[in-house]
């Protein structure tokens, strides 16, 4: 996919015009199924919306008008080149990958590149959102072009200074090489280069000349992290900013009715207490004292928005909301399956936090923010200042997994600072983060496949999900690009995201996937891979069962039905490297999963030890990944490893129980995200060679691994899991509300 405004036409062999084809897919179709006379060929599936235009394309499209302004590079007199990147680093390794792009174009040692995170830059409009696995896809062109232009400018400066022709110059190791071989360091040229007028456009190097890009590199910020020097939001010193915490309601979205703060004010170190829209804020000399005072507050509360709801009611609503199938199970053989997925906390290690300094005429905010422009707009409105008076700094985050698309801590910190008239460092407790933070929405899945004569004829998936909140700027992007979206009618943002991210990678005849959402006023948000972990995970379980019903091996069945050679290549890679089909002791089994999204694809083969079905462990994982063009294979492997651990956690043990309007889980002793003892001792990740442009990587690893783990569990225990996480008792005493 390129960055132009054209929507690619469906590949040859799918002779449908775009609108017709879309209407066909998006509206509940009237199906005309031709039953083939032979069992030789699989029945091709028309391209789904996400194959034509995926969410990443949408983000790139929205960013195209400002792509030229995206990358701000500066060359210092010390020879250090700094890229001010309008994206959020939260652990995914984009600053390292971007530094590599800059170093490559400028022929500079990687250690001489710094990457800073840009403040909110409103002039970028829709081009400062970190999500949809889109960073490397969206910056690969602009960052290289900016660096190539900088190189051209440095060459011109050297040519002028030394009276030689540009054609006789080259660059190496951070220096322009003169025709006689003498190097002139960039730092010595930057001042002269800055004086030059004119346009210095230059083509980036062809990928065939890359020497650094595509090679495994370690993180540029790793040393600061392992020495404790790396600064997250609350590690910063902002003059006068003191620790602040909030006492929160006993149910989601409850509000303060009355407060008695006499006892709290007597706690040593307390500086200020005040009511804000989300609860009662306490500022103290230390966070420990602020939390002690918070606990001493006596507060009565107004009800929240979902006080009567518990898991049972939510699950019933979801089951009722799943749209009907189009194909009746007549005349053909069929397989129906249903699945439920629990809410899941994002639970980044760094809890929701922000620093705010709000004055009468201006405000300054620091936080890990993936949509800082919308954050700035919203904060300005919340505290009654013009946007131009609000400065929003983006700090590197201690994890996100989608969480930091929302800026609730930044708004709350600004409100506290305004109310108490002092700068504050706001930290959410872990319990706040799990109970009042965001979560992946619970979902219910209904699937039906029909088959005859050894062929899959239809494949239908009906997803009912608690509404996922996209009110963090994505809505504006979708509205602005709506004309380009391969969808007909007025779909909700959620349906658009669903259709531009989830696709069935198999030729299964007529395929339809439909989302219906139940709007509950809870705090939800995209969780690494948004709908795909559940939607595609469930589909991969069905694929295994379908293969069994049709008498096929799960791998052979997938190989037969995958659409492209590239997809089959990653499958074949894990099959070979993971020794698919090897004999396993009783209680152990292998499982396989596949996923394709954002121009990338991956296969995952796991081995599970489920001798105790209530305490299974994934003991080995083999993953193959094709992202089109890996920038930093070492970083890519890290992303796949993280996706695997997320899948292990959410498939086997980690979720939230909702009880009368509040999650029961309040910390990592209760929300069972995997620990070392739950993860494999043997992980092998294979990065496929570059074949094209970079695809998405950040979320890719989750769905295939969900499928592989669930399938391995089914094969090891003989019980096909239908509800996730598989082992999900309330095995703890919940904290008081």
């Amino acid at each position: 996919m390129t960055c132009d405004n054209e929507v690619p036409v469906p590949p040859a062999g799918a002779p449908v015009r775009r609108r017709q084809f879309l209407a066909f897919l998006v509206a509940a179709p009237v199906l005309t199924v031709a039953v083939p006379g032979t069992a030789e060929a699989v029945i091709p599936t028309l391209p789904q919306p996400a194959e034509i235009l995926d969410l990443g394309d949408v983000l790139i499209l929205a960013g195209t008008p400002t792509a030229g302004a995206l990358a701000v590079l500066s060359v210092g007199e010390d020879g250090v080149v700094t890229l001010d990147l309008p994206r959020a680093e939260v652990g995914q390794g984009i600053t390292t990958a971007c530094a590599m792009l800059v170093a490559e174009e400028l022929d500079l040692p990687l250690g001489q590149v710094r990457v800073t995170l840009a403040d909110a830059r409103p002039e970028l409009l829709m081009n400062q959102l970190t999500g949809g696995s889109n960073t490397m896809r969206s910056v690969y062109g602009p960052v290289r072009q900016a660096a190539a232009a900088a190189r051209a400018r440095l060459l011109a400066a050297a040519a002028g200074q030394y009276g030689v022709d540009v054609s006789g110059l080259s660059t190496r190791d951070g220096a322009v090489i003169l025709p006689d071989g003498r190097p002139v360091l960039y730092g010595l040229l930057t001042s002269a280069a800055a004086q030059l007028t004119g346009v210095f456009a230059a083509q980036p190097k062809p990928a065939s000349e890359h020497r650094l890009v595509g090679t495994p590199q370690s993180r540029i910020d790793a040393r600061a992290m392992v020495t404790g020097q790396f600064q997250y939001t609350l590690d910063r010193d902002v003059p006068g900013a003191m620790p602040a915490v909030v006492r929160r309601p006993p149910t989601i979205n409850g509000s303060v009715r009355s407060v008695d703060s006499a006892k709290a004010r007597a706690v040593p170190g307390v500086l200020a207490i005040g009511v804000v829209p989300t609860g009662v804020a306490v500022v103290a000399e230390t966070f420990g004292q602020a939390m002690a005072a918070r606990d001493a507050l006596e507060v009565t509360w107004n009800p929240g928005t979902v006080d009567s709801l518990s898991d049972k009611e939510i699950r019933a609503e979801l089951r009722a909301a799943a749209l009907p199938f189009a194909v009746p199970p007549l005349l053909t053989q069929h397989l129906d399956m249903e699945f439920d997925f629990a809410f899941v906390s994002h639970a980044p290690m760094e809890t929701n936090s922000a620093i705010a300094d709000v004055r009468d005429d201006r405000a300054e905010i620091w936080a890990g923010l993936k949509s800082p422009i919308v954050a700035r707009q919203t904060i300005a409105a919340a505290i009654g200042l013009p946007e131009s008076a609000v400065t929003v700094h983006v700090t590197q985050g201690g994890g996100s997994f989608g969480r930091r698309l929302f800026f609730d801590a930044a708004i709350e910190a600004a409100q506290i600072s305004k109310t108490l008239r002092r700068p504050v460092k706001l930290m959410w407790s872990r319990t706040d983060d799990m109970r009042h933070g965001r979560a992946r929405a619970a979902s219910h899945h209904k699937l039906r496949a029909t088959f005859a004569l050894g062929n899959v004829l239809t494949f239908e998936h009906r997803v009912a999900s608690v509404e996922t909140d996209f009110r963090h700027g994505l809505g504006e992007i979708l509205t602005a690009t709506a004309a380009s979206l391969p969808v007909a009618g007025n779909l909700s943002f959620a349906q658009t995201v669903f259709l531009t991210t989830c696709k069935v990678p198999y030729d299964f005849g007529v395929v339809t996937s439909l989302l219906n959402e139940v709007p509950l006023r809870m705090h939800t948000g995209s969780w690494r891979s948004v709908y795909s972990a559940n939607t595609r995970g469930a589909e991969e379980v069905l694929v295994d069962q379908l293969a069994a019903r049709m008498g096929k091996d799960p791998v052979a069945f997938r190989r037969e039905h995958l659409k492209t050679a590239r997809q089959r290549a990653v499958l074949n890679k894990v099959v070979a490297e993971g020794d698919w089909g090897r004999a396993m002791p009783r209680g152990f089994a292998q499982g396989i999963g596949f996923h394709d999204e954002y121009k990338s694809c991956t296969a995952c083969l796991v081995e599970i030890d489920a001798r105790d079905p209530r305490n299974p462990r994934v003991v080995k994982a083999v993953i193959a990944v094709d992202v089109g063009r890996p920038i930093n294979p070492r970083g890519l492997e890290a992303q796949m490893l993280g996706g695997l651990t997320d899948a292990i956690s959410t498939t086997l043990r980690a979720g939230l129980h909702i009880d009368r309007g509040l999650p029961l889980e309040g910390s990592f002793s209760q929300f069972h995200y995997a620990r070392q003892k739950d993860t494999p001792k043997d992980v092998r990740i294979f990065v496929m060679p570059a074949t094209g442009e970079p695809g998405g990587a950040g979320e890719l690893g989750v769905p295939a691994a969900v499928g592989a783990i669930a399938n391995a569990y089914a094969r090891a225990t003989g019980v096909v899991p239908r509800s996730f996480p598989i082992n999900f008792p309330v095995d703890f005493e919940p904290f008081p509300r």
């Binding site: 652990g91 230390t286 994890g399």
Partner: protein, 151 residues
């Protein structure tokens, strides 16, 4: 308010603090030692893991009064100047960190483990219960084994 004197990363410090104030907040908010991270406040995520007289503690559940006269080491005190501890070196070699937030605690837990045992088994590594939400566990395992081999 009581006064407590103890050693942090080799330097004596004296602080005024309530006896039950957690060491984590004394370190972070009073002394500006911010390598140990808050992650839960109840000693289960172990992001703040540090050492008291060389043994592993969770400062978020260690009252400052218990540290009087003792020696506290945080991640900042592990290296000797620019010379990193072998465990830190192993972390760099394996490129363990993603978001990095839990890694000071992970490293301090690994160092404490390696002080008690020379030969490290997979079962020993499994007993480290620090949460890494980025899921870097396999690289942590490799780094600990690599460090153990070199030490």
């Amino acid at each position: 308010m009581p006064t407590y004197t103890f050693v942090v990363n080799g330097k004596p410090v004296t602080v005024d603090a309530p006896a039950d104030l957690a060491l984590l907040w004394v370190l972070r908010d009073k002394l500006g030692v911010r390598g140990p991270k808050f992650g839960c406040g109840i000693g289960v995520c172990r992001a703040c893991t540090s050492h008291l007289n060389g043994a592993e503690i969770q400062p978020c559940v260690t009252p400052v009064a218990e540290c009087a006269g003792q020696s506290v080491t945080t991640i900042e005190g592990l290296a000797s100047g620019d010379d990193l501890h072998p465990v830190q070196e192993a972390w760099l070699e394996q490129d363990v960190a993603q978001c990095g937030y839990c890694q000071p605690g992970q490293i301090m837990a690994a160092v404490a483990l390696l002080r008690t045992k020379k030969e490290i088994s997979d079962e020993d590594v499994d007993r480290i219960a620090n949460v890494c939400r980025c899921g870097t566990y396999f690289r942590i395992r490799q780094a600990i084994k690599s460090a153990a081999a070199k030490m």
